[in-house]
Symmetry: C2
Subunit: 233 residues, 2 copies
């Protein structure tokens, strides 16, 4: 089996052609499978079938990779409603899409929640859609960042909840410790089983997210109306 | 140095006495340092300086350990205000304490958000305080679970945000992609620097969490008032 010595072939790369897209795709898959702590430049190069130095030609550090990942994942989030809809509808659609994307990318959450947005063009473009939409709707610019953070916080927490078992709140054998809470859980479960009463609700996590999001947005609206009436919010 | 052969000493354990408290403490420390994926029964036994079989005498599985951890961490959360305060004040204090605890235990979040509460007495006792407080205040029992989930989602997301760099939203060299958002970030930063204007606000993350939490609670109040007026919420 050792008859043919390796030959250099002209005009054909000896390892796969690296692109930022390929790097981002491989990094997302690695983090999904093994968690963000296991993602190193060396491990990612192995997965891509290239040398570490080839990878370093494209990205200088793990942080660079994370920014590619951030940009790649955040471009899946739909923020188009800010172009056409009322701010409240637009924020709700954005938040729903955001949660849907991150509930498919749970292991990215610990990284993405603390990663600076500088250098991530799609992330900044998304935030610009949100900020410009809110500003056009009469929101004071000073409220925009807090509103974005509040919606995102709810979204990231709800993305985890979307992947929790439906029975997460079942008190089990300790129900006597928590009679009122146990009754509330039983009541919620009955409502969820009654598809006629809540046809739009899929799971308990969906119902809780929608109720929480609508309450948050109602609170925003109340504060905005108070501001526009000239009251101190 | 090999003069004395090892002797069996009566009445004295040959390895440290294991308690559930010790196991929980070691597990929390391991997850903090190395992430939840690295926590195995074997690794935890090594850290505790005991044999795996000694550890199995106390806990049957990694899931049992996680329940000890959940119970240990959640008992730090202060939900005492439900005994004495208005529901809105009580929910706000609970949420603030909850965020404070988990912002010190960030690596636990991916596990705790999806771990069933059955078998965790302190967690169930906490939920009972919340549920009983809301029920006494006239909340319909059917809203309790959704409200708990919404507050927790906001809290977990905000705990991550509390550990993010203050400059996370700085658009850097790409600011021309996001002019309105960049202006909003600059405006927020100016407000944060002006200690007189917002003396109670520590960081940008604190300000965003408090604004989001108050909006969520205002939305809850609006819905409750509508219900008590007999309107369809």
């Amino acid at each position: 089996m050792e008859q043919e010595p390796p030959v250099r072939r002209r005009g054909r790369p000896r390892s796969p052609v690296l692109t930022q897209r390929k790097i981002a795709t491989a990094a997302v898959a690695m983090i999904q499978e093994r968690g963000h702590r296991e993602l190193t430049m060396a491990a990612l190069a192995r997965r891509l079938g290239v040398s570490a130095s080839a990878l370093y030609n494209h990205v200088g550090s793990k942080r660079d990779i994370m920014i590619l990942v951030q940009d790649r994942v955040n471009r899946e989030i739909d923020c188009s409603a800010f172009e056409t809809e009322d701010w409240e509808v637009a924020l709700e659609r954005w938040a729903r899409s955001y949660r849907e994307v991150y509930s498919r990318h749970i292991p990215l959450i610990p990284v993405m929640t603390v990663l600076p947005v500088a250098d991530s063009p799609h992330t900044l473009t998304m935030y610009e859609s949100v900020a410009a939409g809110l500003a056009r709707a009469g929101w004071p610019v000073s409220w925009v960042v807090n509103a974005v953070v509040a919606v995102e916080s709810l979204v990231f927490g709800a993305a985890y909840d979307a992947t929790a078992p439906e029975t997460i709140f079942d008190p089990g054998e300790l129900h006597e410790l928590a009679p009122v809470f146990s009754a509330a859980v039983a009541h919620r479960d009955l409502l969820l089983q009654d598809g006629d009463a809540a046809p739009e609700v899929g799971s308990g996590a969906d119902a809780a997210f929608h109720a929480g999001l609508r309450s948050l947005l109602a609170g925003f609206r109340l504060r905005l109306e108070a501001l526009h009436r000239g009251e101190q919010p």
